[in-house]
Symmetry: C2
Subunit: 129 residues, 2 copies
């Protein structure tokens, strides 16, 4: 299977597959006689794993760790859970930051009448505190 087909089946773009190979996240794919990369169903499965992990916000580094655990049959599920829970904490921190920002912005925008006049509590709020 060529890289384009692997990309279609995995949801990871050809460009990104090559990138993952370049940084060592996945081993270098086999090649046809003419130099085209060739992928097996197994490798596509790995790419799908990576795609799902990335879509859950894991960094490429964390995905590397998850891949290792995935391939390691003697892993402890506690190790996987630790990675996932650490990520959950990071996400919750980020959500809290965004909600704080959201509250501040809504407070400012609610106080701004938003008409033709120049007076603007939003700019005032940014200018001084």
């Amino acid at each position: 299977m060529n890289i384009g087909e692997a990309a279609r089946r995995s949801g990871v773009s050809a460009k990104t597959i090559r990138y993952y190979e370049g940084i060592g996240l996945i081993p270098a794919a086999g090649r046809t006689a003419s130099g085209y990369r060739a992928y097996s169903a197994n490798e596509v499965e790995t790419l799908r794993f990576i795609q799902r992990a990335r879509s859950l916000g894991f960094s490429v580094d964390e995905v590397g760790t998850l891949l290792e655990l995935w391939r390691d049959r003697s892993r402890a599920s506690a190790d996987v859970k630790a990675v996932a829970l650490k990520h959950v904490t990071a996400i919750e921190t980020k959500i809290a930051e965004l909600e704080s920002i959201r509250r501040t912005l809504l407070d400012l925008t609610n106080r701004c009448c938003g008409d033709d006049h120049p007076d603007c509590p939003i700019l005032d709020g940014l200018a001084a505190k």
Copy 2:
């Protein structure tokens, strides 16, 4: 006032001030005879404005727009409000994404007992759907 002092008073690092000057977000600062950048209280105020806007998650580009509006005495507050509300929408989208991810991850981690055994619903969830 030297750049270091301006940095301390504005909360924007000296490195970042030079960067902002380089990309044209702020006009080039005046210079002393020996080539040091010199800042007035006014310029520090601008930097503080930028710092607050950035800390609310506005992109540097959006900050540029806000700065223009700030300096434009004939602005309509509606224009400012539009920028702010667009940003609020973007933030709310981001929050929704993160909460969706959080729910998925918590669902997976709750089903993973996290002990010495290799069986792991988290990896299974990433591997297939």
